[in-house]
Amino acid sequence: MAKVRAELFVELFREQSVPLIKYLTSRFRDREDAAEIAQEAWLRMFRLDDADLDNPKAFLFQTASNLAIDRVRRSSLEQRFTDATFADDDDGHPSAERTVAAEESLSVVEHALTELPEKCRQAFVMHRGQDMSYVEIAHALGVSTSMVEKYIIRALRHFRDRLDA
């Protein structure tokens, strides 16, 4: 049985490896993505316990298609959240309500800042307040960029606790 299955797999691969890549490339444009997804789809075919698929070719293309959709979904989700990471201040016209909230949070933020260690505070003010990049901050403070990242993490955790976010 195992031999028959291996033979079927080899035959399917011989027939369909090029069409599958073409199919995926037409849907994706990115050849590298297409090749990666094809590889994953073949791997899943190979791992299947049930050798008696009615239509192995259809299963192969369906699997590849699902993987492709999943990848697109993930990358657009990621894009949305990454964009949010860089979306900056809301510079619209603040309502009176929002101005009061902003003033309150200003004093809370001001106080929370003083509780941070010196370099951590400086790094955070440079990044959030002056739009300096990690590399620029690293130069200014004489620390590594990974240290700057750690300062930003530390500061954000602190603000999260203080602002109850």
């Binding site: 999943d70 989700l77 860089f86 979306a87 200003l106 959030r128 307040g129 993490i153 999260r160």
Partner: protein, 78 residues
């Protein structure tokens, strides 16, 4: 990134909020490669709690726009 393995949750599963802060800070660094973006996408896709946690950090970040005013006033005080 030195703590990358903890983000993937293979060694010590971080609380979603902590992982969200780490991802946020990572994404704002100058060098984020494709494999890290893919891991971020996988992390987001894995759990609705991850997405909520990340949204909270984005909100916190917006609130911290107050730091601009503080930076500006301390600069003019110098």
């Amino acid at each position: 990134m030195s703590f990358g393995h903890t983000l993937a949750g293979t060694t010590r599963p971080l609380a979603a909020d902590d992982a969200a802060v780490e991802w946020f800070a990572r994404l704002r660094s100058d060098a984020v490669d494709a494999s890290e973006r893919a891991r971020f996408a996988a992390w987001l896709a894995a759990d609705a709690r991850h997405r909520d946690a990340f949204r909270r950090i984005v909100r916190l970040w917006r609130q911290l726009a107050a730091v601009r005013a503080i930076a500006a006033s301390s600069a003019s005080a110098d």
